[in-house]
């Protein structure tokens, strides 16, 4: 019942926000109360093992909403991020419908976490997709319509694949519940598994299902992107877990090659998306590809399929929720002040927006997986897990992906905050409260969980231990794997000390002089003070030359070819209806003749 009430609270808040749409203050207060209330209710009332059935009579399908610890894990991520999104979004110019849609998309996502049977899973999944589609459609970009269209088509592709998988499963097992199918005979179970995995691969934007993501992340409103990338993509990770463990527990025995393929897809996604990311000149597009790349690691973790690789994957999902949201939030705050996402038009904002700078700095440190941030433990575990699998090619792919993370991170922070300040940004202030609040709140888990990963590893381990043989010993701050031992605070402190030390050495011995932000070397050319010299335009231009060829390969071309075929069929179909009355009469006569001919033998 508690779960149903929670969904009701969320839904009613959304409805109220819509009704109160014109009265801004009241609307904001109500939605804030709803979101906070939802979070508190979730934390205090929802426990593993609860179940509730809402009976939709005719199907004998119960809307079972049962809970597992995993649902709680992801539910808290979702509700927390939603709250951060909500507070920041009050600074934007939004209408009531926008808030209704966002609450409903949250409702859908929570419903997915609660679903015990596949049909209600589908119901909530579609609800989530539908309302996030509407939000992307309401976005502010010029191409937001194109992006929204792509988003809904890809979501539907995934959802229909899921539906086909569901019905195949129901047809063979006569149960709509999420139950194990690995005991089924024949190859049908493989198809069911792949079909059930599809929507989650779409949701986490695993290549080649990522085509919707850059557009949707870029063109949705800035604050909602925080929730879309950080929050809703976690439904995909949740789905991986459901599909690989609950639906198909024997995958490592029956189809080990599928896991391998999955891991490789994840690694390729991580590397390719990383390359795409540092080629971008749009801050949000860069982060979109970064998000895709980071979720690729999660897929690798699931693909490696050992106890602590899955722990690492889930931990990384949480990490992704923290640092990717942080990065998106900073960019949203910067956009709020500068009205641009174009990296070439920004620069030197470090003194104007110090808090945002700090947020972004630690965000990219976490993205690159450097201690003492939340990005480190998961990557450390992940590397060890892959090394234990003896798959050197996979290791090198994942390492390569990490390098790309350094590259795009540096581009991001340099283009926005370092270098020369643009003249039109001289009077810019720090991002307003909503953004700052989110940044500060997200920085807390970024450090706390980076140095004390045990807080989260404990519940994750509790979930994973049930399915895989545990080979990871840990306490609050330490972890021991078959490869060795690590103490996270020690590493963090060492890292910080080393950094400070080298910084001090650099200060003392480095040959440098303090240059004002406007001070630029221009080789005998005297230039005006407001002439833009910020190195942002062809950032990594040489890389573009190096990777130029692969960048033109695109899954989109294959898709377009398919579309052409369908359009051709459509033209043929349409041609049938283009005649005049005589032609139509001829159809009838022909039809009559054919039918009589076919059935003639029986007359």
């Amino acid at each position: 019942m508690a779960m149903f009430l929670l969904l009701l609270i969320i839904g009613l808040t959304g409805l109220l926000a819509f009704i109160l749409g014109p009265i801004k203050v009241l609307r904001n207060i109500i939605s804030l109360i709803g979101a906070i209330g939802g979070l508190l209710y979730f934390v205090f009332k929802i426990r593993p093992g609860q179940a509730y059935a809402l009976n939709i009579k005719i199907y004998n399908v119960h809307f079972g909403t049962g809970m597992s610890a995993l649902s709680i894990f992801f539910g808290i991520i979702l509700l927390g991020l939603f709250l951060i999104f909500l507070i920041a979004s009050f600074h934007e110019d939004n209408d009531g419908a926008y808030y209704m849609f966002s609450f409903f998309s949250l409702l859908g996502a929570l419903g997915v976490l609660f679903a015990k049977d596949l049909i209600s899973f589908f119901f909530f999944f579609e609800t989530m997709s539908l309302f996030s589609f509407l939000i992307v459609l309401k976005g502010n970009g010029e191409t937001s319509h194109r992006s929204a269209f792509k988003y809904v088509m890809w979501s539907a592709f995934g959802a229909y694949a899921f539906l086909l998988g569901t019905f195949l499963k129901v047809n063979y097992t006569h149960s709509v519940m999420i139950t194990d199918i690995s005991y089924l005979g024949g190859n049908i179970k493989l198809w069911i598994l792949i079909l059930l995995l599809t929507p989650f691969m779409v949701k986490t934007a695993l290549m080649p299902f990522h085509l919707w993501a850059p557009g949707a992340y870029t063109d949705s409103k800035d604050t909602y992107t925080v929730f879309l990338s950080g929050g809703l993509s976690k439904i995909g990770v949740f789905g991986y877990f459901i599909a690989l463990f609950n639906v198909f527990s024997q995958i490592a025995v029956l189809y080990p090659w599928l896991l391998k393929v999955f891991a490789y897809i994840g690694a390729i996604t991580a590397s390719l998306a990383g390359i795409y990311a540092f080629m971008q000149d749009d801050a949000k597009k860069l982060l979109a590809y970064s998000s895709i790349s980071q979720l690729g690691y999660v897929a690798v973790g699931f693909g490696v399929y050992s106890h602590f690789s899955v722990v690492a994957a889930l931990f990384h999902a949480l990490g992704h929720a923290v640092f990717e949201s942080l990065l998106f939030l900073v960019v949203a705050g910067v956009y709020y002040r500068t009205k641009t996402h174009d990296l070439r038009k920004m620069g030197g904002l470090i003194k104007k927006m110090p808090l945002s700078f700090i947020g972004l700095l630690f965000g990219i440190i976490a993205t690159s997986g450097i201690p003492p941030t939340i990005g480190f433990p998961s990557k450390w575990l992940l590397y060890e897990a892959i090394i234990l699998k003896n798959d050197l090619f996979l290791v090198s792919l994942v390492f390569f992906a990490s390098i790309t993370a350094f590259l795009y991170s540096y581009k991001l922070i340099h283009s926005i905050f370092l270098g020369k300040l643009h003249k039109e940004h001289e009077h810019i202030k720090e991002a307003p409260f909503g953004y700052g609040f989110g940044i500060v709140v997200l920085l807390i888990p970024l450090f706390v969980l980076g140095t004390n990963p045990g807080i989260v590893v404990k519940p994750i381990d509790y979930i994973v231990r049930f399915y895989l043989k545990p080979d990871l010993a840990y306490n609050l701050t330490n972890m021991t794997t078959p490869l060795g031992h690590v103490n996270f605070p020690a590493i963090g402190i060492t890292m910080t000390l080393l950094f400070t030390l080298s910084f001090i050495i650099y200060l003392i011995f480095g040959k440098s002089y303090r240059a004002a932000q406007e001070d630029n070397y221009t080789a005998t050319e005297w230039i005006d003070k407001d002439f833009g010299l910020h190195y942002g335009g062809e950032f990594y231009g040489f890389m573009r030359k190096a990777f130029g060829k692969p960048l033109t390969w695109s899954f989109e071309k294959i898709l377009n070819a398919c579309l052409k075929v369908v359009s051709f069929l459509g033209e043929i179909a349409r041609g049938f209806y283009m005649g005049d009355a005589r032609v139509y009469l001829f159809y009838i006569i022909l039809f009559f003749a054919i039918i009589v001919y076919i059935m003639g033998g029986k007359l």
């Binding site: 939709i56 009579k57 005719i58 199907y59 419908a97 049909i119 119901f123 909530f124 579609e126 609800t127 539908l130 459609l137 309401k138 319509h145 194109r146 929204a148 269209f149 809904v152 088509m153 539907a156 592709f157 229909y160 694949a161 539906l163 086909l164 019905f167 195949l168 129901v170 047809n171 369908v566 359009s567 069929l569 459509g570 033209e571 043929i572 179909a573 349409r574 049938f576 209806y577 005649g579 005049d580 009355a581 032609v583 139509y584 009469l585 159809y587 009838i588 022909l590 039809f591 009559f592 039918i595 009589v596 076919i598 059935m599 029986k602 007359l603």
Partner: protein, 486 residues
Amino acid sequence: MVSPILVIALTLFLAFSIPLLHMLSKKLPPFVPPLATLINLWILITNIKHVGEGAMLITTAGLKPPIAINLAIDKFSLLFAILIQVIGFLLSIYYLSQERKDMRFYMLFLLNILGASGIVMTGDLFNSFVFLEILEISSFGLVASGKDKKALEGGFKYMMIGAIGSSLYLLGIIVLYLSTGTLNMAHIAKLMPSIPDSVKLFSSILFLIGIGVEVELFPLNAWAPDAYQGAMDEISTQLSSIISKTGIYLAARIFLTIYGGLYATNIIFYLAITTFIVAELAALMQKNVKRMLAYSSVGQMGLLMLILSVFAKRGDVFVLTTAILLALNHAFGKGLLFLSLGSLTGNTRNYDIEDLKGAGRANPVLGFLFATGVLSIIGMPIFFGFWSKISLLISIMKANLMYLLALLLLVFLVELYYYANVIVNLFKGEGKKYRIGVIPVSVMLLFALSLIVFGLWPHPVFKIAQNAAASLMERSMYISSILGGM
């Protein structure tokens, strides 16, 4: 209890009193259709509790069947009769907002409602032909009552094809009459085992073509896009929500009740699939939104026929329930789409997708209404369409037609493609703002609310649909309740 025969008598009387009322005052005719449909609705509702198992028999001329013409109303007919009156009432309210000089339009409208109600209530085969003719001829008139060339073209095409269809239908009746000597549906159904197979087959082919025109089966539906496109928006609503649904009723009644199962099931099965695929593919390439909706209607009718043929293959009350849910969803969803599309274009009759740009953003209420219709038709959750689509897929799964299920999902993706394109276009850029009256908006809101409310709370509709489906399945009950005893 008020005799349901009054539905027919009263509608007929009111239809022909319109010219007289017109002489009294020119303002009176528009108020007759709402009055008539409301009274009809009341009559039918008072009869709900009298229709139990089997059919309720209303005799005329004091003669017991199979002698005279009589009405036979079971829950299935009652559901369709009520649906017709509800949609008719909403539409006639909608007409109140329009200035229309010609009172003959209202006569045609009422005659159309009369024909549809007659078809779903009669228990006599020849009588159903008469009502079918009334329905079709008034439809031709309604379609052609638009003011432009397209309307005339659509009306003409519909008339040509419709006339052939109904004459083949009559031929089918004649063949059955020759071999049974009766026109009473229940009586023919009872005598069905004694009819030679070849006669059954031949007559069912004739019926297939006759009804196929009405239900827009593939090679017989060429008239439909032209008629839908040419007709005024409200008439398109009527075509998709009332007239084509009457065709479905007729198909179910004749093939399931009289023949006791589809003859040539496989032919209808494949034709229905072809209808669905061809129509959806044709819609994909369509730039004219109204014609796109027309193709989509044809496609949905294909789905309905498909599910009927699936029922004939693997009989299950759930499959029939699904058919009714689909019919209800389509009646309300597509009706809403046609109505709101008209308002979104500002009644300019310019339906080009490029010209609709931003219309939804400029008119948020209309945009919401149109989007509701679309989302329900494509079966998104929280709308009623979700349940009908899910039960459609469940039925097909139960019939073990997994390849068909995969095919349907693929075509649903095509369907989503063109609908999403329209929606995205509606909310792109700035459009023109239109003034619309309170009456049209409230009528459309009623359509939309019913889709949302029953999307969130589908139990009552399920129950009704299930009862109706069960009564359609109980063929022997139908026969015995009309003819008395077995």
